[in-house]
C-alpha cells in the first residue's frame, strides 16, 4: 500500500492524456463496433432470402466500389478500421482496468451494489468472452473457413458462404448454436451498458431525462443486435433456413 500520496500539483496537464480521453477512445471505438454489428446483423438476415440472395450479397460486398476500389477493397478498408478500433478499445480497457485494480488492492469484506446493473459489472469478464468468441468466429467463417458439419473441408462448402453458414448450425452441431447464443447473450450484456456508457462518456446525459433515454438506447441496441444475430442460427437449426 502506498503510504504517501502525491503531494505536488500537476502543472500543464494534457487533457488528451487523461482517463477521460481513454474513455472517449473507448466510446468512439465502441460506436464503430456498434455500427459494424448493426450492418453485419442486417447482412446475415439475407440468409432468410435463400442461397442465391445471400451469396450475391457476399459477392456484392467484394465488388463494391469497383473499379475505384480493387476486388474486396471495401472489406479491407473495414478490416483496417475494425482492427484499429479493436486495438484502441482493448488497449484503453486494459489500461483502465489496471488503474482500477491499483486503486483498490484491499477489497471490502462486505460491499453492496446499490445502483449498478449486472451488465455494468460484467463488462470486463464479458469482454474477455467476446474476444475469445471473435477469434473463433473469424477462424470459422473468414480466415480458415472451418466446416464442423457434413461435407468437411470440401471446397463446395467452404467456398460457398451460404453452405458454410448453414452447415455450421445443423441439429447434429447443436452445441455450435449454443456457443453462438451464449456469445450473443454476452454481446447483449456488453451493449446494454456499453451503449449507455458511451453516451454518458461523450457527455450527452446532462439531465435525468437524457440519462433515461440513454438507458433505453442501451436496451434497444442490445435487443436488436443480439436478437437479430440469434435469428439465423436458430432458424437454421430448426430447418427454416436451408
Amino acid at each position: 500500500m502506498r503510504a504517501v500520496a502525491t503531494t505536488t500539483l500537476i502543472k500543464g496537464a494534457r487533457s488528451t492524456r487523461s482517463t477521460i480521453a481513454l474513455k472517449l477512445l473507448m466510446a468512439a471505438s465502441g460506436i464503430v463496433f456498434i455500427l459494424f454489428v448493426l450492418v453485419h446483423m442486417y447482412g446475415n438476415l439475407k440468409a432468410f432470402s435463400g442461397e442465391l440472395a445471400y451469396n450475391e450479397y457476399a459477392e456484392h460486398l467484394r465488388t463494391f466500389g469497383e473499379p475505384y476500389l480493387p476486388y474486396g477493397g471495401l472489406l479491407w478498408i473495414l478490416r483496417v478500421v475494425l482492427l484499429g478500433s479493436l486495438v484502441a478499445h482493448v488497449g484503453s480497457a486494459v489500461a483502465l482496468s489496471m488503474r482500477a485494480h491499483a486503486q483498490r488492492p484491499v477489497k471490502y469484506a462486505v460491499k453492496k451494489n446499490k445502483a449498478s446493473s449486472l451488465s455494468s459489472r460484467t463488462m470486463r469478464w464479458g469482454a474477455v468472452a467476446l474476444l475469445l468468441f471473435v477469434v473463433w468466429h473469424l477462424l470459422q467463417f473468414t480466415i480458415v473457413k472451418i466446416n464442423v458439419g457434413a461435407g468437411g473441408q470440401a471446397a463446395e462448402v467452404t467456398e460457398n458462404p451460404f453452405r458454410l453458414l448453414t452447415a455450421a448450425f445443423q441439429p447434429e452441431q447443436w452445441w455450435m448454436v449454443v456457443i453462438y447464443l451464449l456469445a450473443m447473450l454476452a454481446l447483449a450484456f456488453h451493449l446494454h451498458h456499453g451503449t449507455f456508457s458511451a453516451i454518458q462518456t461523450l457527455g450527452f446525459t446532462n439531465t435525468a431525462e437524457s440519462r433515461a433515454r440513454a438507458r433505453v438506447a442501451g436496451w434497444v441496441v442490445a435487443i436488436v443486435v443480439a436478437g437479430g444475430f440469434s435469428l439465423v442460427p436458430l432458424f437454421t437449426v430448426f430447418g427454416v433456413i436451408s
Binding site: I20, Q103, V110, N113, A115, S117, L202
Partner: protein
C-alpha cells in the same frame, strides 16, 4: 439494543490491518452512529484497550469529515452522512461490519481514518474561481439564469466526503470532480477559467491515482448529498470541449 461489531483495526499506514469483533450492549436507538462508536470506545478504554480511531468534526452532516463503510454501504443504509445516521436504522442483535474507505489515493492513517488530502489537491489545482477581493460586489450585477444558478447551487452541496470514491469499484473520483466542475462551470463568474479548470482538475485526479469512470452509478447512490450522475456527463463534456478549445 445489543450489537456485534466487526471493525477494521490497523495500527498505522504501514502495518497490516484486520477485522476485529466486539460485542456492544446498551445501545439506544436514539444514538447517532458515531455516538454508538463513542460508547464502544468508552468500553474499550475501560478495559485498557486501544480505542477505535475514526474521523468526525461537525457531526451535523455538513463538513464531510466522517466516513465509514457500514455493512458494505458508504455512510450506511440511509441517504445521509455517517454522523447523521442513527441507530434506529439497525435492529437489536445486528452484526455491523465497519471498514474504512478503500482507495490507494486515500491511504489509511489509523483504523477507520483515511487521508483524503488528495481531494484538497484537486481543489487547489483549479477548483476555484479567481476573483479580485475587496468589497463585496452588488449581488445582481452579474445575472445568473435561474436553472443554471439552481444547478450550481445543488452541485455546490458536495462536502468532499469521498463516499463516491469508496463506493466506486474503480476508485474513481468522477462524481466529486463532476460536482465541482458543474458547480463552477454553471456560474457566469466561472466561465473565463472553465476549460483550463477542467484540464488541471482532471490532471490532478489522474495523477493522484484515482480510477477511470465506467458510468455504473454506485457513486451517486452512495452520495449523502444526492449529487446526480449527470455531473459526470458534464465533466466529460467539458473535458471533450477543452480538447478542442485548448
Amino acid at each position: 439494543m445489543k450489537l456485534t461489531l466487526k471493525i477494521w483495526r490497523q495500527a498505522n499506514a504501514s502495518e497490516k490491518g484486520a477485522l476485529k469483533t466486539y460485542e456492544l450492549d446498551g445501545v439506544s436507538s436514539d444514538m447517532s452512529f458515531l455516538e454508538m462508536l463513542d460508547l464502544l470506545n468508552e468500553q474499550l478504554l475501560h478495559n485498557d484497550e486501544e480505542p477505535v480511531a475514526f474521523d468526525s468534526d461537525c457531526r451535523e452532516g455538513i463538513c464531510g469529515m466522517c466516513s465509514l463503510m457500514i455493512n458494505g454501504e458508504a455512510h450506511g443504509p440511509e441517504v445521509t452522512t455517517t454522523c447523521q445516521l442513527h441507530m434506529r436504522s439497525f435492529k437489536d442483535g445486528d452484526t455491523i461490519t465497519i471498514e474504512p474507505w478503500r482507495a490507494t489515493s486515500f491511504p489509511i492513517v489509523k483504523d477507520l481514518i483515511v487521508d483524503r488530502s488528495a481531494f484538497d489537491r484537486i481543489i487547489q489545482n483549479g477548483g476555484y474561481i479567481s476573483a479580485n477581493t475587496g468589497s463585496a460586489p452588488e449581488a445582481n450585477s452579474v445575472p445568473a439564469p435561474r436553472d443554471k444558478a439552481m444547478r450550481a447551487f445543488n452541485t455546490a452541496t458536495c462536502i468532499g466526503c469521498g463516499a463516491c470514491v469508496a463506493a466506486c469499484p474503480n476508485g474513481s473520483a468522477s462524481l466529486f470532480l463532476g460536482a465541482k466542475i458543474t458547480h463552477l462551470g454553471e456560474l457566469p463568474q466561472g466561465q473565463p477559467e472553465r476549460y483550463s479548470r477542467v484540464q488541471s482538475m482532471v490532471g490532478q485526479h489522474d495523477a493522484e491515482g484515482f480510477g477511470g469512470c465506467t458510468n455504473i452509478g454506485e457513486c451517486a447512490a452512495a452520495c449523502p448529498k444526492e449529487i446526480p450522475l449527470d455531473v459526470i456527463s458534464q465533466l466529460n463534456k467539458d473535458l471533450r470541449k477543452s480538447m478542442i478549445l485548448g
